[in-house]
Symmetry: none
Subunit: 306 residues, 5 copies
């Protein structure tokens, strides 16, 4: 594996990290069909925890089997596969070494009465399962946001000390945020910035809408005449908010939508300079054949071929 210049430049941004962490970042960045390009597509499968198995897997019953997702990520030539404890425990041996994995350490479920998550995986789990990174979700804006950040800090510090990479899902919600505000462009930029400040290596946020939630942000953006009229421009704005591009940012696919809708969105995400996509429901809720076709196109978009 000869590390490309593009990947070396990305790794160089992680100035304070030990070579172990850089090695794990390199594993993700060099794996799959996008390996070496500085772009990445990740398959995340935590929707079973978040929404229950019926909403998640009934549309495509083979997806009830954890091995299905490992195999899908591998066959699609993706960079990494992210999942919670049980999902990885059920396949980590069969697929040992086959694809970089990310152990998602916390999740919420659809019964939740508070904006919080259960932490049910550990850094030690990540090591024994051969993962390249840990994953964690925070809810900026929620009443428990500071507790979530503090939980993240402890796990992140521990992970970095043993050479793992750290992926942070930064999903604003709760508190005074309106529903539209959760994906507002200012709030999304803020979420990406918070994740960078908290020390994340890879940041996951949602594609931002053109809504601006906070009055003061609105004033500042208008005064500075920041053009946020297209998704591409909003993506570029989020990348800038993540340390002027010094941190890897990937965007989720959001709610399941039609194939063309997904692809069009990703074309703009790629054009905006994002590092990639993290595509869950939009892939595994289709048949394996359709999912592979979709992921093939997405990979090609990031290769500049589609």
């Amino acid at each position: 594996m000869r590390i490309t210049q593009r990947v070396k430049r990305i790794l160089a941004n992680y100035e304070s990290d030990c070579p172990g962490t850089k090695t794990n970042l390199a594993r993700i960045l060099m794996h799959g069909r996008l390996g070496g390009t500085g772009k990445m597509v990740i398959l995340p499968v935590d929707q079973g925890f978040e929404h229950g198995p019926d909403r998640s897997f009934a549309p495509n019953p083979p997806a009830y089997d954890p091995h299905y997702h490992y195999q899908l990520a591998i066959d699609a030539g993706l960079n990494a596969y992210a999942a919670p404890l049980g999902m990885l425990e059920a396949g980590a041996d069969s697929f040992a070494g086959a694809i970089p994995t990310i152990l998602k350490l916390n999740s919420s479920d659809s019964h939740a009465t508070v904006k919080d998550q259960a932490v049910y995986g550990s850094v030690q789990d990540a090591l024994r399962l051969g993962c390249s990174a840990i994953g964690f979700t925070i809810y900026p804006g929620a009443d428990d946001q500071f507790e979530m950040m503090e939980e993240f800090r402890e796990l992140s510090e521990e992970a970095k000390a043993v050479g793992l990479a750290v992926v942070l899902w930064s999903y604003p919600r709760g508190g005074d945020l309106s529903k539209a505000g959760e994906t507002a462009v200012d709030v999304t930029a803020y979420a990406a910035h918070l994740a960078a400040l908290l020390g994340a290596h890879i940041i996951k946020v949602k594609p931002p809408t053109d809504h601006v939630e906070q009055d003061e942000a609105k004033k500042a953006l208008e005064k500075a005449k920041v053009d946020l009229s297209t998704l591409e421009k909003r993506i570029a704005h989020v990348m800038q908010s993540a340390f002027a591009g010094r941190r890897i940012v990937v965007f989720s696919g959001g709610a399941a939508k039609g194939t063309e809708g997904v692809l069009e969105e990703i074309r703009q995400i790629a054009a905006g300079g994002a590092n990639g996509s993290i595509i869950g429901r939009n892939s595994f809720q289709r048949s394996r054949e359709d999912a592979l076709a979709l992921l093939d196109t997405i990979v090609k978009i990031y290769q500049g071929k589609a």
Copy 2:
């Protein structure tokens, strides 16, 4: 670096601290254009966390890049640069040894529904990033004030044991305090005194207004005929409240305002005997050229040359 008599006298006030902590205080006091004068100007950049990237950096887009701030503090000849975890992680290697750094361990964000902060950095982080000090914020008056003080104590005790210095932002808010009360002269003096009692080495408070918030304090000040009619006199009063000058106190620039307003305020702060200023938004929200010009004048004010 021959330590000046003025700095030695300041260090001698930290009677119970180990030579390691004094060494780190000396590093800050001896660095930059004010090195050796006993005065200091510090660049703090935690506004991205507190107010979001748009409000913080849109006015001057190069400031989205963490390296920008390191370079600004160095080029302006400041004493130290203070920032949260991610900001320092993104530049600590490139700028190793170039300027003393202060790792800010906690922050709030503009979504917060409570007067509290997330603690997301550690003393171990400060050591591995080569920092000279840790920074922490408390909100005297807030419902969670005692918890914040207790969090501070633990981190402070740990920091002192490994030879780091401790900077405390003491910002009254919440509880029964009126908005005007947050910067009232009695409340500010109280905030500085609390920080000293909690064991801080360097105390950051806001410039006090002539408002007196607490009835009992008003009576005591009137009875003692304490003259608080000018900012200079109020600054002197705050310094007195910080152990009669035995603790270093620096004042923030407050909300961004016109250049002349900033400078006039700092002239009075300096005249009142403050140890210096900590200037964030007022510097990095201007163009680099304007910021360097402003900081140059501020440094000259503390040198007694402007």
Copy 3:
């Protein structure tokens, strides 16, 4: 320092304590002009935290300097000086060995919206600062009283294990207590008894009024025909409640009042058999000259000479 028989008898009451703790109690009991008499006068200076620097020190500006209080306690020939972390840190080296010190580990401030305190000092702090004892406040009756008692227990147990003495400020307030009830004789006796039960070596309570707060206590006292008509008799009752005199109890001077008022109260406290007084505001809010004169008379009262 030849330990007097009177002090030996007092030490003998601390049957389960290690010789280290008795050594530190002996240091306090043998120090100053009352050394060896079994009586003690202590200077406490935590009012800056509790009420702010203006209310505390504006009446006598030299008192803004932490060294002032060390020197006052020494020059007045008192038994010990009690203060919070920062106050001791600012003078512990200059005055090392000059007077026994008590590190007050928790405090409240006048902004507080709850009846609670911040714990911001540690047993380790007490050891590194050369203190003979730790000090702690509980609020019997407050909603958080049990948490405060539990915090005390942990620190007390830790202190006893390393040979320190433990001083407990037992100040009823909050909950169902009326304002008058806070200093009612039954409530004060109860507070002293609780402190003894919690394992304190030295107990600080306020001089009790003749108000009786609790109905059941009233009935019992009346049935037993306990005479509580004078302060002297009430003091004797409180001493009895503190294990029939087996625990050292000292009384605060309360709110600043006229010299004669202070002295008359202390004469009765002494007559009632108290171990001594702990005099803060009433001493340091006067000029040094007046404070030394007042403390001289107080010491003489406990010597039986005034």
Copy 4:
């Protein structure tokens, strides 16, 4: 206890120590008839362990009782009493607070087949027994010298962290040292210097003879024309070797000898600038009356009165 300027100057040499350790040094330096002079006489009673009870106490049977030695040290007005665990455990309560004590942590016995000692006391023991210092013996030159130094370091670091002082008995023996070499002036100066380098606060060595053991040292001393012809001059040389007088050095009385021999030796030790004497067998192997008379004269010698 008003700390004298002489004692303050001595304490100032312990630059890196916490106020707690300085407080304990001050306790020893301010106690007894020599309190405040910067001189000290210490009673050490570990001969029972080293030589057995018969050789140690048969000459003066009351000395079999541990209380005897506490009382002797107190009645003679000495600065401190040093003894092993059991000796202190047997009297620490009866004499709590009466005299500073030094817990000797290791000893050898007369059965020993190696030049080493058993470590049978702890820093925790010193705290629970109310000691002001720990004591330790090393044998520079012995085959096990480095292990002894490493044991010392661990205990010393622990003691300093909790505010205790550290006394080091530095007794060269074993290895290539001749019997005469054990008290040779070069070897004694070396022993004192090693103790200072190892971080001891108070150093105990034996009075040096005019023998020079090491060839290279002999050459250096002759070349520098160092006059070592009298005990006074040799003492001055040892003091110089202990950081040019920045460390307290006390000298043992050596083997029991006639009263005049002891006193004449101590006169020269005092004249050479030593900080004092540590007198075991020469005191407690006499009758109490004779011992008090002897110690009275020794104290007077250090007072410059005999």
Copy 5:
């Protein structure tokens, strides 16, 4: 302190170190008259432990005082001062922040009957004393060499984790090594290489003679026609052995010799590409005036001016 390109290139060789360790390396590399050149001169004073105070300090009696050496290193404009625990404890407060210090953690003495050293300082000591690095000695070839290496590893790992730099004295001796072999060019190159392999940041070895000790090394060098005829070439060979110049190597001055001998040797050391010299006895055993003159010339040699 603007870090020079030359220093940045050196720091870049320490690829796996945290920014804290690089900060401390930068402090040493940027300090004093050679600051920024990539060259360094260090004053080490552990000869008192190694050879005793008489051999070390009798030639220049002011050197018995630990402050003398701090001041000498500062006045000569050196990069750092290295000394054992007691030496630093005796001056760390007076000279806090004035010059980077290196805490030497182990030493041998001239009584030693084995080729080993006592470890009597800790990483925690280095932090509380404000040191930039720890120092350690190993004896490659000695019977206890592996134990020494293992002790080093533990301390080194601990030091790196808290951001300290690590200096390793690599002095072959003992085992089958001939006396001449201890400074043989192959053995010295081996010693430097071992130090690099053990993870040292700064390596101290002795200037190599043209003796080749090991038969197999001799064959290899002859076969490769390595020219080792001059000291300059041998120094270049040692630098090459220390990771082809990727590790800082400094050379000791060896036994005290005439001024010209010292300077001539250092000219060749500098010409061979060494990073600098570590000069103990040759400096502090002269008068202060002569030492400053000598060190001035040495600094100029490394500046290319003498």
